[in-house]
Symmetry: C2
Subunit: 224 residues, 2 copies
Amino acid sequence: MTVSPTRIPEATVARLPVYLRALNSLLDSDIRSCSSEELATAAGVNSAKLRKDLSHLGSYGTRGVGYDVEYLRYQISREIGLTQDWPVVIVGIGNLGHALANFSGFSSRGFRTVALLDADESRHGELVAGCPIRDFGELGQIVREHGVAIGVIATPASAAQAVCDQMIAAGIRSVLNFAPTVLSVPEDVDVRMVDLSSELQILAYHEQRKAPHVEGAPGTEGVA
Amino acid sequence: MTVSPTRIPEATVARLPVYLRALNSLLDSDIRSCSSEELATAAGVNSAKLRKDLSHLGSYGTRGVGYDVEYLRYQISREIGLTQDWPVVIVGIGNLGHALANFSGFSSRGFRTVALLDADESRHGELVAGCPIRDFGELGQIVREHGVAIGVIATPASAAQAVCDQMIAAGIRSVLNFAPTVLSVPEDVDVRMVDLSSELQILAYHEQRKAPHVEGAPGTEGVA
DNA sequence: TAGATTGTTAATCGATTAACAATC
DNA sequence: TAGATTGTTAATCGATTAACAATC
């Protein structure tokens, strides 16, 4: 219940999940304690940034020693809010929705998929990751029943805004959008967009600027 | 072949695909010309940022008038490098790889999936989005044959680093990683990570800080 | 005490924003 | 010419980084 003294910068918040994963992987290797340098390496950032980030949460390390992996993991989890349960609904059960429903990275972090919804009647009742596909019309009831606060949109772009509107009407204020379209929402609603095509385009931009691809270049090919 | 006068800021590069999509959607509505204000609204940013961003590319608008939608779209496409063809391989054809292979947002923007690779022999030959699944061992040959510059990793985390290493050995220098793990790569290789679980965690962080969820709140429920 | 490493300070860098001169 | 809107300037804000004092 300790409230953080200051607002945590957005860039830091975005990296906390990365630190969390790095800590988990250290624990998997039975590493109980680490320096900022080690953790930073595992997380793919530099140690100055890591220490600065952690300083926004509090003083959870020991000078001259480093961090207790389990303790730091707990503190970050708590800060993010992963010590509570987050019921989630996924709307649009195509291949992507399917993949999301099966993604263990969600369930292992306190995100519990309470319903899979799809507009296609012919798919209702089908089990995906042990959860039946239900009608989109049940959204409001499900949100009320389970206290769903986070909605995931994995529909085609054409349906996304309508789905989003319904989610908001049902009381959802945090939306993760995989549909390639900008959603308009009231300002108290958070939308995060995962834009697959943008990611490729950003890579293409940089690739284009690299040294031209040399045919039969210095590469080590066929390293089986 | 015109080289941009200055380096384009990273934050701007990340928004160019968004502008491109907004321009496409304007064209779909038969809108041939727009102001920075209109385009910014469609893209979900403010107009000052939009104009600043575009100013890094050149002067493609007309003062007092606005932008020609088709012309601006072409200029942004060219800047990103979408006027050329980008052969892509996808490795790991589970639900997510499946979804990516079928994603029209890739193919419609010059990204051509030339191969789907998976380590699981039992799936070899299976057609996904009209493309047969092939053995991961063929990676080097496929990259050479098609001049693949971009690799997509949709494997489990445990396989991702090895897949990435092979991609780099085969000559790939741009990687889009969906596996929930940090990849270590030489500095001339670009990795973009799409981290589904991080996105949910970031939403959870903000949700947690919002006003506590009121049971039976002012919501409009059941708006069918 | 001496060595190690955190947490913080201060400098630097990059991104955002508002305002407006240029110009259609 | 008058109105509209871009492209640019300059101010502000936030993020990164290096260096180091605090302290285990």
